[in-house]
Structure formats: structure tokens, C-alpha cells
Symmetry: C2
Subunit: 410 residues, 2 copies
């Protein structure tokens, strides 16, 4: 173990999650536990983009006690702000990295922690590769987060458990809501993730855990056909009149075309074509025309990734643990790695922290395994349920003031 | 006080809320407290419609202890099921009421409690009026509930506080989510209530309570113009780049036309015209064309009325209190009344239970007072905030199992 004394910098990047600030709290805890190695910790505002513009904040004075760290943990979305900056190839744009190292040198920064998903791990990998070519000792460690759960080389990703819990709890409530009337009705709930499908799989949890859940679940892993959908609904109507259907926004036809028109080609910019419908609206219209029954659809939308009031305690604890473990690993000499989770057992649930080389992770995607989806392509198997269930367990005793959760604004 | 001994029946009617089962729990508690007057309590399945078809359940054996009642209280949407049956005019259709009384007589039912909104109070009023003309002693009491908060003669309505808390907490999280990037962006959040606007007003709570909230709020009480909206956004962009706009689904033009195409004429049935856009989508498209910035819109949808995991403790307590108070009033001889709330003071918040004649309530609507909306028509005044704030205070310690809230299914 080589001793390296110097300051640290931490950034948050990519899309919001309910647990990304628990990761940050973990990094702060890790630094507080190593005062001899790391005297100061700077938070980059809006990730590396803000840092390059000179925007950062000294974090240790702000989070001197556990109460403040707990408030940080119950705050959704990157408290430091985020960015979507992709770094250049270090082999091609050395000037960019030289400028970055110059800034680090000025501030005596020897530790670099970056919380994020694929793009953030790409940043860690590039900086790590560049550092091997220059005479500046610095250690860089990635801390994973994404609601998509699609990072490679880790059992799961902080942020996903809380998003899955939001989806599961909300659907359990929607199913109750839909059960109060006796008239035939279909409610289509569209879940985030055009290419990442794990979150839609968590729609199976209410049924598996409580016995009352959604009737059908469609993931993009299997082609979606209206014929099968019609057949599935007919079968489901035989059991009860109020059907709830959970779909991924990214479901596709056998030819690979998105069912949602808005998903097909970046509808956000399609001026000429008004109100392109998402997959839920397309299915709503189809059900109306085919069954003539009451039907509605809606998207769970942003709350899926920011409903910190309903965070999974398991998720928050693991996020913090990975943050502090990343710092510990760096202090002990590791660099170019991501702090990851390896599952030891489902029941009792146990994961251990492992360090993985970040290079492989940056450009890989972890998909829902085929054995987690049932043969009919409209539900999740017991193996999938066994994987998902522990991740949503536990509730944080969120502190409220005047009816609202306390949020930390940096 | 005239003594009346006999069984009781209770029903739930109208749309789901997060507190409607707390009202039911209150009725059960009220009956348990009066065993001499009321030996048995029957729950109508799917309201009076199910009861007429012979579908009911004996409730006291199911809810013999406080733990079960607490689980009932944390279950969203009518546990007994609901209906939207409107009773005929007792002066015109005596046969209908004769049949009903015959059923009551068979089961020795002397107390009738009905939990609901306007239509339910109409049921109570009609049954009450009919009972005055026949030789069958029975007492009927209405227990208010609606997320719309539009019932007359009560300070507010159980169910509203929890819905308002959901809107306020969710918006406080969405505002955090939207704040992480620095690029100009507009997020339009559409809130339930085509004709009832109280819920949209609660979007002002995050800003008033924590200092960080939505930028603009539009209620149908004031005409909506795209000119003013453009001006409001321009002003708001001067303050920060990430704007969050809360709108009622029922906002209207100065001519009284709904801004949302889908709200204009029951779009649910408009086969020929695909994907009619709600008000949020119309505004999204307008912002895209006018400002060219990143923009998105979504509806808070069903979770507003069924997110029991985030219920207001104040709301749940008042719902139960009105339920038990309604029973107490009936046992003491009252009939044809609704148990209502009268505010004593805002700070410290205090409401007392009062009994109001149900006849007047059934056909009245309580609107958001003009003095609760600011002069610009894009926000809520301190008077409105003072009214709303106490209603979302307090959090129930919801009991979870395996990551999901425990729900009672009757």
C-alpha cells in the first residue's frame, strides 16, 4: 500500500436518482474516516463540466455531522448538480487532459471520485488511462448509480432499488385504486427506460409479494404483438374485470420498431407531427377500439427516479457503502476501478463490495436475463422475483418539516 | 336523546382517495364504542349498488383489533369497493325506496353511514327525506371524502389533505430533479381535477414551505392566455434556467374553452380523433415552438388519489374522527346530517367536528376563493398557503412487509 496524501474531488453525473446523494454521503463519510490521507474534499458543481469552469464547493465544512449527511441522503437528484459531458479520447486530445491535470495540481487533488452510470465510468476510465502516461500521481474511482440497473460487472446499481420500490409501491396502490369498480376497465402504466428494462420487471413485485398485482407485464426483451396482447387481455378478463398492464416505454414490434410513436425517432423535436403518442397511448387506443371498454394510460414519469421519500433503505445503505468503500480503496492504493456489488445470497440477502476494473464497464450493458421473463413474455419468473425482491426492502425514516421531506440544497 | 337499537350498514362511494378507508375505520371504531346501540355493522360491497344485489360483509369480526384497523387505514381506495349509483328522486320512485327499506327491515338495520362526495351526500339526503314519510325509524349520516375538496359546509374534505401532500411532496422532488442541469428547460406537470381546482393550488406548498418550489401555477379560476404564459416564462427564465409549471387539467381560455383538447368533449370516446392532447401536452408543444428549449410534460394521474404510503397524518386522523363522530351523532339521535370540519385556527391548527344538514351540501360546490389566487393569476397567496399548509402535516408510520405497504383486502 503506497501512501498518497492530497485533496479529493467528487462529482455526480448523468440522470437523477433517489440514491445518488447517498453515494455522495458515502464518499464524504469515507473522506472523514481518512483525515490523514485526505484533508479536504471538493464537490464539483455540475460534474466535470462545472469543475472545468471553476465551479466547486468545499464539502467537509458543510457536512460535519451525521444529521446533515442523513438529510443529504434523503434529498433526491444530484445535490451537486449534474452534467452529460463525455470526455475526449485521451490518445487524441492530450491538451484537454493536460488542462485538467493542471487544475488538479493547483488544488493538490490526488483523489477523484465520480458517481454515475456508463458515461461516468467512461470518464473514470479515460482519466485513469491518461494518468498512466503522465507524471502526476492521482487515484480515480467510479461509484455506480443508475435507475436503469444496466451497468456491467455489478449485481445491481444504486438508484435502481429505490426506483423499483417506487414502481412496485405505486403499482400496488394503482391496483387497489382500479379494483374499486366492477365495470371492465384496462389501465396501462408506462414505465421508464427505452433501452433499459429492469425497472419494468419490478412491476411484478406487488403480485409476487402480496398476491395482488398487475395482470400483464411487457418488456422490450420480447417482441410485442397486438395479437398476443389481445389474447392476453381476453384471458385476464376471465379472472377479474379491472386489468392493470405495465409496459416498458421501449416495447417493440417483431420487426424491432418501437410501439410508441414518440420513441421511434426523438419525437421531442418533431415539430411537424403533433403529439406523437407513447407506447401507453398507442395501447390505450388499441384497447378502446378492440374491447370498447373503459381504458386509460399514463406514464410514471420523473417520480420514478426522484421519489426519495419512498427510497429503498437497502439501496441507500448500499449507495453510501459503495461511496465510502471507493474512498477506502483509493486510499489503499486502488485506481481505475469501480466499487461494485457481488451477491452472496438472495435469502438471507447479502452482497459484498468488490472492486472491478472500470475499463470494461464503461461500454457494456447488462440486460434482463432471458430466464427472468416467463415463456409467454408477459410476466416475470420466480428467478427474477428472487433477484428483485431484496432490493426494494426497507424504508428510510425520512425527516419531514411542515409536511415536506427536508432536502439539502448545496 | 331517543334510544334506537339496531344494526348499522356502511358504504363507500365515488372516486378513490388515500383516506377513505380511514373514514371506514372511524365508522367501525364508532360502532365498537357503542355496542349497546349497534350490535352488528355490515359493509356494503360496491356501495348501495352492491348492497341492493345482496352483496355485503359483516365488518366487526374482521376488524376486532386496532392493528387491523391501522392496516385498513393505510390501504388506499375503497376497501369495500365503490359505485357511482345516483338514487332516484324519492318523490317519484317510491318503489325503489320501499325495496331498500324492506332490505333494511329484514336485517334490522337502523343506522346508515355513507362515505363519499356530492353524489353520496345526495344519496344520504334522498334516503333521509324518504324516511320522514314512512314508518321505519332509521338514522342516516354522511361521512365526507373527496380529493377535490369541493364539498360545501366543511372547512375541507378528508382525502384532500393526502392528495395535496402527494402533489406537494412529488413536486418538491421534481423541482430537485429538474435543478440538476443548467440548460434551459420547462417541465409542465398536469394536476387532476377538471372542475375542482384545490389540488392544483397545493402545488404552491413546496415553494412556500421550503423556499424551493414550482415557478408558475395556473388554475381554471382565472382565464389562461398563451400571451400571459409566454410573458410569465420569460420573467421566470430571468431567475433560473429550469422551470417547473403546475397546471390544472381544467385550465381554460378567456372564452371558457378547455386548453386541453382531451378535456373539451370527453375525448375518451372520440374514436375518429387519435391521441387528443391534455392541457400539459398542448403547453409542451407551445413552449417547444415558442422557446425552442427542452420541454416535457406529464400528468401526476392516479397516484394523486391513491398514494396511501404518503398520506397526511392530519388527513387520516380527521377522516377517522369524522367516521366515529358520525356514528356517535347517529346514536345520539341525529339524522340527515354530514359530519363536517370547522376550522378554529390556522396556527396552531385546530378544527372541530360539526354536524351539517346534508340537503344543502349535496348540490353545492365549494370553489377556491378568489383571495387565494395572486393578482397575476399564476400563484397562490399567503392566505391560501395558510389554509393549505396544516392539511398536509404529519406522516403515518406505514407498516411495510417485504418492501411494500400492507394493504387490507376485504
Amino acid at each position: 500500500m503506497s501512501q498518497l496524501k492530497g485533496n479529493a474531488v467528487v462529482g455526480q453525473s448523468g440522470g437523477p436518482t433517489a440514491a445518488i446523494n447517498a453515494s455522495l454521503a458515502g464518499v464524504i463519510r469515507g473522506v472523514l474516516a481518512n483525515p490523514d490521507a485526505i484533508p479536504a474534499l471538493y464537490g464539483m458543481k455540475n460534474g466535470i463540466e462545472g469543475f472545468l469552469a471553476g465551479d466547486f464547493v468545499s464539502l467537509l465544512p458543510l457536512f460535519s455531522d451525521e444529521t446533515k449527511l442523513r438529510h443529504l441522503e434523503q434529498t433526491p437528484a444530484a445535490a451537486l448538480g449534474s452534467c452529460r459531458k463525455k470526455l475526449p479520447d485521451p490518445a487524441k486530445d492530450r491538451a484537454f487532459f493536460d488542462g485538467l491535470i493542471e487544475k488538479f495540481r493547483e488544488m493538490d487533488i490526488r483523489y477523484f471520485f465520480y458517481v454515475g452510470g456508463n458515461d461516468s465510468m467512461d470518464t473514470v476510465a479515460k482519466l485513469s488511462a491518461y494518468l498512466e502516461t503522465v507524471d502526476y500521481e492521482m487515484r480515480v474511482v467510479g461509484i455506480p448509480k443508475t435507475i436503469d440497473n444496466d451497468l456491467a460487472d455489478t449485481d445491481h446499481t444504486p438508484g435502481f432499488g429505490s426506483a423499483a420500490k417506487y414502481v412496485a409501491v405505486t403499482l400496488s396502490e394503482i391496483v387497489r385504486d382500479c379494483a374499486v369498480y366492477r365495470v371492465p376497465a384496462v389501465t396501462v402504466v408506462e414505465i421508464m427506460g427505452r433501452d433499459a428494462r429492469w425497472l419494468t420487471a419490478s412491476a411484478a413485485l406487488p403480485g409476487a409479494i402480496s398476491g395482488e398485482g398487475v395482470d400483464l407485464i411487457y418488456l422490450p426483451e420480447r417482441p410485442f404483438t397486438f395479437e398476443q396482447f389481445t389474447e392476453d387481455l381476453r384471458e385476464a378478463f376471465k379472472r377479474h374485470p379491472n386489468l392493470v398492464v405495465a409496459i416498458s416505454e421501449g416495447i417493440r414490434s417483431p420487426e424491432g420498431r418501437y410501439i410508441g410513436e414518440s420513441a421511434q425517432s426523438g419525437a421531442a423535436d418533431a415539430f411537424g407531427h403533433k403529439y406523437l403518442a407513447g407506447a401507453g397511448k398507442v395501447l390505450e387506443q388499441f384497447v378502446k377500439e378492440t374491447f370498447g371498454c373503459k381504458v386509460r394510460s399514463f406514464e410514471l414519469s420523473l417520480p420514478q427516479r426522484c421519489a426519495a421519500h419512498l427510497a429503498s433503505e437497502t439501496d441507500l445503505c448500499e449507495a453510501s457503502l459503495l461511496g465510502s468503500s471507493g474512498v477506502k480503496a483509493a486510499v489503499e492504493g486502488k485506481s481505475g476501478v469501480m466499487a461494485a456489488l457481488e451477491r452472496v445470497s438472495d435469502e438471507p440477502y447479502k452482497c459484498s463490495v468488490v472492486l472491478r476494473p472500470v475499463g470494461k464497464i464503461a461500454n457494456a450493458i447488462r440486460k434482463v436475463p432471458d430466464e427472468y421473463i416467463n415463456a409467454a413474455g408477459n410476466g416475470i419468473t420466480p428467478a427474477g422475483i428472487a433477484y428483485l425482491t431484496p432490493l426494494i426492502r426497507g424504508e428510510r425514516a425520512v425527516e419531514y418539516k411542515n409536511g415536506l421531506p427536508i432536502h439539502v440544497i448545496i
